[in-house]
Symmetry: C2
Subunit: 600 residues, 2 copies
């Protein structure tokens, strides 16, 4: 019953007019992304996820994963066949480097496809998603031998990958890790410990699973500075690439959780498992952050992906379901009632969802372009600017994207009334699935602290100044254009709030770090609203230009202009209250003793 | 593992200093509520729900209800025994009229107990909750014979009750009802039709279930004006009160839903079931609204009740769980990490939850007092003011209460990090349970339309003027007191936003009703924030007076003052952006054709 159509038209619009992909095609790393190829990826990739993955989304949620007494885990019916098709069609290799069998598409194109895959089936998308994290870490810090041994089959999707950070006593604070690595005579390490919340930790989709594991070596300091990264394959791999013995790593149990039921969340037991150091000893945290930063952008995309599917279904329901009459008089008097769509409050929820999802699509793809430019640009200044912007905005894309994803999923469920609460209709699953994205890869509160506590101060504040200058420059240009002047004026007020909050933080948080902690979440949200405002300014500008030039998709362009206006009128005003909240300061937060919190 | 302690101390504080219960004891209807009896209700009622109902909350969610092939439904293990204990201990009768075996406690006291019951086990609390709705409708509009036949055993809890409104094609728009009532020779009616989403529709807790059913009589107009209300017992009741034949009403299936698994949500099939008209023919909607208004206040209380339990568990977790160090330096250097409580952003979430739950407790109990005064006061002016205030604020308590309940439940889950997403820890259940309260008894969007479209205009605007005047008067008094002057100043700004938004609505919504629809939800939220501000002003004033008088619970009183300050600094500022959103108007909401919403 639920529906999903990949928003190809909108992705094209964003790639062309917000990301400006065509302007980068002259750079070597973008060469594979010709317009024809990109279009084929969107259309064929969209078709694949809609036809193969989406039909398994609800059934996968209902069935979940099953752990068997021998520690093996089976994924829900249909997942294994769909995964085989995913690999055989080459979708796993899209954004990977040709050296290891990848198609070498820029990250921005792989991200566009990744959004569709998440929309179709978030739990499924997590299996290749985790593999990508492992590829990123091995590519960045693995030895030549490790790359040769693991990367080709990770890239092809023949094998899966995982990230093993969390332990029962240790989540955000990785200094508390207890998993131990003991050096062996042959240069390998014996890994012993328990990891929890390991997404895709054990399953039946691939012949082998390559675990990347954080552990402590003998004598390592008792802090996050003592952590090393190891590669621990489920099945050992001989030097010739053939499968060796089963390694001493096993799934002890799988979690019963709120959502993403079709992804196996495992307790992983390492009982002297054989692993190899990745990169340098005690430099594991840096290597892990290579994975984490990529993963955080991917999680932000999950917010968008789930929101998009929820939104499409709410639009369909609001068109079909008849209840009540328009306040301005019956719109379809021949029927017993008008469609939900006539009601302003239903439209409020749908317009908010439209403004947020299309805005997040632009932001996620624009962010992915910065990842590409940081790595691929031949221009030093462009590389530095891209690195500054994506470093600054990675926590924003992760946290703002997932906060808004959950909000949209919840509101779209609301459009369904009572039916939204019933599993059969599919809407409550989107809420349950979207919820995890606010938590994992660093909770959204941790993202906000990353932004306020680390990123703002980096390079003497250069990244935030670059972002503020970018927004100010585009506002300036847009104010001169009648079609965008009003939104530009509203964004200017929002930017003023962000600048004011930034100055307030600089004046107050240096002497009292709790001020940073107290301001972090509203400050991140303020930044996210401004960043989305920039995206809408670009989209409105492009839509106005194209409409004036008589482009034939007039209804689509009009919708962009109206949605941009809506964003400015109805969502941007929140920045003012966020600034006031920040300026409220930390005193009232920190005043009470823990026992004073209970009023029993 | 989850924990719940009834917040008796806070309830006492609110009853004494916000509700001012003692000042009303001289009115006849309040006579039963002596301080000793009220205290016994809070302490013993709290003990009962904590010891008997709370232990069944998580197991009930896991097991859910089971429908058997014969249409019977069993509740989760332990529910039947707990319900028997609930009835035998007399808790069912608390707020009911002595004429039918009730204890005659004022509604405000019954509400205090009801909050505890919801906190302990929302799904359980819904069984007697629905019975209360049936009691309210029969009391208000039943014949003397119907009252005598049904009320004593509904009041005692020996029988259960339900409300049957929704049909597959008909939720909010009751004019679409298809269920038919045919008059029979003996004065009864034959009821035929299908009702859906019937909470507590079939179960094993009681010998009989008294259904109140909306249906259309022959020739009734095809609108909500054609609806009649019928009483349809599951088992017919002979004139002497003995059980007669099984009636032709049965449970066709139970829904698989997001939460409240332990409450049976039924499809009810009426196949020529025998029913009796309640009140006048085609006056069913009015009778139903007697139930609905009571039920809406009860649903608002669900937002508070679930939030309170989630909050208590998050406070406990934040005290126990160690992760990271305080930004201002290690607070417990002998341990490997500090408790979560040292982190400002954890405190931000906990303080928001504290400010919202304690504020909502005050608002719900103060609202319940207005229900009492409306019915019981011997003073005409007091009765009218109470009726105005509770009429105006019923949709606010329902929608703002449940929106905030869901927000708090979600944030408290966030405090748990990854553990919050795992069923075992119990936090994700609160989110799933809290979610329904935003939907049923009229979605929160429908509540907002009730506020803006009906309640604002009632009696020439007298209720909203009375509310604004009440807030303004208390601000005036509080500004003179140094302890409350700052909060009063902040509430004055918020009140100015509410007054401005009200004027804007009066100027714009009369000529364009879509402006009312577009403004409704932010306007309701703005009203809720101001109402909670009034509650915090009262609490702060009382706490300051008591502290100055040297009352011995200094830590509790200090917490009230700090939380009031927090509310003013960190939550009230939202009113400014809500006003700006409202003033953004409806144009951008209404501009697009439905097909323009999709960007595929």
């Amino acid at each position: 019953m639920p529906t999903y159509t990949p928003p190809v038209r909108d992705t094209r619009f964003v790639l062309e007019h917000v990301v400006g992909l065509a302007q980068h095609l002259n750079q070597p790393g973008f060469a594979a992304a010709t317009p024809e190829v990109v279009d084929a990826v969107l259309v064929e990739g969209g078709r694949f996820v809609a036809e193969v993955l989406f039909p398994l989304n609800q059934s996968g949620d209902r069935e979940g994963c099953t752990r068997h007494p021998d520690g093996s885990v089976t994924t829900p019916a249909g997942f294994k066949a769909a995964y085989r098709q995913f690999v055989e069609s080459g979708w796993a290799t899209l954004g990977n480097h040709p050296d290891y069998g990848g198609q070498g598409m820029p990250h921005v194109v792989a991200t566009a496809f990744q959004e569709y895959m998440i929309s179709a089936n978030m739990a499924f998308a997590m299996y290749p998603g985790l593999t990508h994290g492992a590829i990123a870490a091995l590519t960045a810090t693995g030895s030549a031998e490790q790359k040769a041994l693991y990367l080709p089959r990770l890239v092809s999707g023949e094998w899966g990958g995982t990230m093993n950070l969390t332990e029962p006593q240790c989540g955000t604070d990785l200094g508390l890790i207890r998993t131990r690595a003991e050096p062996q005579a042959d240069g390998s390490w014996a890994i012993t410990g328990t990891k929890i919340f390991i997404s895709s930790g054990e399953h039946d989709l691939t012949d082998n699973i390559i675990h990347l594991v954080l552990a402590k070596t003998p004598g390592a300091p008792d802090s996050s500075k003592g952590i090393s990264l190891f590669v621990v394959p489920k099945v050992l791999v001989n030097a010739d690439g053939s499968r060796g013995a089963r390694n001493a790593v096993s799934c002890g149990s799988i979690e019963h959780k709120m959502g993403i039921h079709a992804n196996s969340t495992c307790v992983m037991n390492y009982d002297g498992a054989t692993g190899w150091l990745v990169g340098e000893e005690m430099k594991g945290l840096g290597a892990m952050f290579v994975m984490m930063n990529a993963a955080r952008l991917g999680v932000g995309l999950q917010g968008l992906g789930v929101a998009e599917t929820a939104y499409q279904n709410a639009v369909a329901y609001a068109r079909e379901r008849r209840q009540g009459r328009a306040l301005t008089g019956a719109k379809e008097p021949a029927e017993k009632a008008d469609p939900l769509f006539v009601h302003a409050d239903i439209r409020r929820m749908l317009m908010e969802a439209k403004a947020l999802t299309e805005g997040l699509r632009a932001l996620c793809l624009w962010g992915a372009l910065q990842v590409d430019l940081e790595q691929l640009s031949v221009d030093d200044g462009e590389r530095q600017l891209a690195a500054d912007l994506i470093g600054l905005l990675t926590p924003v894309i992760k946290a703002f994207g997932t906060d808004m994803g959950y909000r949209v999923a919840t509101d779209m469920q609301q459009v369904f009334g009572g039916h939204g609460y019933i599993a059969e209709w599919g809407m409550e699953q989107y809420v349950r699935d979207a919820r995890i994205a606010m938590i994992y890869e660093g909770t959204n509160g941790v993202q906000a602290m990353d932004l306020v506590g680390r990123k703002l101060a980096q390079h003497g504040g250069r990244p935030i100044q670059a972002f503020l200058a970018l927004v100010a420059a585009e506002i300036g240009a847009a104010k001169a254009d009648a079609a965008t002047a009003e939104l530009a004026g509203r964004l200017e007020r929002a930017l003023d709030d962000l600048q004011g909050a930034t100055l307030w933080l600089m004046a107050n948080a240096v002497t009292d770090p709790d001020q940073a902690g107290a301001a972090a979440v509203p400050y991140l949200r303020l930044t996210g609203l401004v960043a989305l405002g920039l995206m809408w300014l670009r989209m409105a500008g492009a839509a106005a230009r194209l409409a004036a030039a008589g482009e034939d998709d007039a209804a689509f362009l009009e919708a962009k202009l109206v949605t941009a206006r809506f964003y400015g009128e109805r969502l941007l005003p929140e920045t003012g209250s966020l600034r006031r909240q920040i300026e409220g300061g930390a005193a009232a937060l920190m005043a009470l003793a823990p026992e004073q919190f209970l009023a029993a």
